[in-house]
Amino acid sequence: MPLDTSTTYPLTRLRLDGRRWNELRLLQAQISTNPASSGSSYLSMGNTAIMCSVHGPAEGRRGEASGAAGSAGAIVEVDVNVAGFASVDRRRKAGGSDKQSSRIATTLRAAFQSHLHTYLYPHSTISIHVSVLSADGSLLAAAINACTLALVDAGIPMPGLLTGCTSGMSGSASTPRDPRNDELDPLLDLSLPEEQELPFLTVGTTTCVPVGENHMDDEEEETKVAVLNMDSKLHCTYIETMLAVGMDGCNQIRELLEGVIKGSNRG
C-alpha cells in the first residue's frame, strides 16, 4: 500500500493502519510508574509512547517563585525531552531542546498553568517532565493525556481531566467545502504519516461546569476547549467539522483515562 493516504483513502475508506475515520488508536496507560516522583504515568497511543513524571508542589527556587507571580499560586514548569531514538531515524542532539519539544512544552505549561488549582499552593513549583520514548504522531495530544494522568497521581487538585486528541481531514482541503459533494472525511487521532501529509489540529478539552440547575440532572456533561493548536493550512469551512470530531475523541479518551485511574486503585 502506498504511503499516499489521499489516493488510497477514497477507495478503501480505511486509513493506512486499517482504522476507520473515527477510530482511535489503541490507548494504554499506567499511573504510579515511578515511585520516586510525586506522580507519574506511562501512556501509549498507538506507537506514540510517553513517560511523564510530576514533582511537587515543592518550594520554588529562590527569586523565581517568590516573585509576584509565585505569590498568587504555584508555577507550572514543563520540560519535554524527545528521545533520540524516538523517531524512525536516530537523531543526535547537540544538547538542549529543539523547536518541536519546546513548542510542546510551552503549550503544556500554558494549558496546565491555567487548568490546575494552583492558587492552593502559593510560592511553590509544580514541575512536569515529559519524556517521549516513541514518536508516531499526536505528540502534543499524548503529552496532554500523560500529564493529566501524572498530575492526578500526584494528587494535584484540578477542576477536571484535561484530555487531548488530534483530528484532520483526509485531503488537502484547500478549497471551500461543498456540502453536496463532500468527498473528504474528517480523521481522528492521526499517526505520523498522516500528520505529515494532511492538515490536522490538536484539541484539548476538559469537563466544564454546566450552566443551570436542570442541566446537572442528566449525566451529559458539557466540555470546554482548553487547548487548540493547528500548524497546517486548511480552508476555514472545514474547521468546525474537525473540531467536533476532535472533541468527540477527547471525550472518548477521557473515559479511557477514567478507567485507568479507577483501575489503578484496585491494584
Binding site: 497521581d153 487538585p157 484540578m158 477542576p159 476538559t206 477514567e258 486503585n265
Partner: protein, 269 residues
Amino acid sequence: MATSIPSLAIPGQRLGSANTYAAGPGTHVQQANIFASIAGPVILDPAQPNTQSKATLRVSRVLSAAAQSSPTTASAKSKPRYNTLPAVDSIVLARVTRVQKRQAAVSILVVLDETSAPDADLAKASSDNDNIASILTSAANPENHSSTDELRFQAIIRKEDVRAVEKDRVVMEDMFRVGDIVRGCVLSLGDQTSYYLTTARNDLGVVMARSETGNMIIPLPIASMASGQYALPSDWLEHEDALGSSELHADSSRAATAVALAPNILSVV
C-alpha cells in the same frame, strides 16, 4: 434529589449539591455543586451537632483498597499507625550532627507519638516509635553515626531557640556535643533543607549523651546527669557555679559524677 455519592471520585466528577453537603478537602465548589478535585475514595463525615449543620464531603488522597471497600462509612478513629513526618509542635528525638557557633545541626531519629507515649503501652503499639530504646542506643553508639544521618530529616536548633532564659548567653559548644540525643519541639517546617527545632521548654533538651571517654551519661531527676567513670573537669565546676546549679551529685570518693545543666537544657560536656 437523592443522588448517590460515588465511591471513587475522579477529578471533575460531581459529588453532590452544596446545599446538602459541605465541601471538604479534595473538593471544590462551582455553581452550587461540589466537585472532586483529586482522585480517591469519597468519604462522608457526618455532621457535628455543635459546629456545623451539614455533613462534609471530602476526597481522600489514600488510594488503598481498604478505604475503597467502605467508601461512605467514615472511620473517624483511623489514625495513621506510623507517624513519620514531623509537623509543627510535634516532639522529636534527634541526634546532634554538627555544632556551630550560631546553630546546631541535628538529624531527627523519631517523631514521638504524643498519644501513645505517656501510656508506656509499648507492648501493644506497633509503630516505629515502640522500640525507642533500641533506636536510641544504636543512635548513641559512635559507630553508627553518619552512616544513616543523611537519610533522616535534618533539623536545625538555632542559638536563640536553645533555652527560654538568658538567650544571649548561650554558648552552643557548651550546650550540645556531636552525638547527643536531643528531645526537641518542631518550631516550623523550615526551608528546603531542614526543620527548625526548639529546646526552650522544661521537658526538652539533651536526654542522652556520652562523656568524652565514651561512657553513657544518665540523666538524673530534674536537672542533673551522672556518669559512672567520668571525672569532673575543673572547668565544669566553674561552669556549674556560673549557672547556679545546686543539684550537683559530686561523689568525691569515686571521683565520678557529674553533671549537667542549665535551667532547662541538659547540657553535657
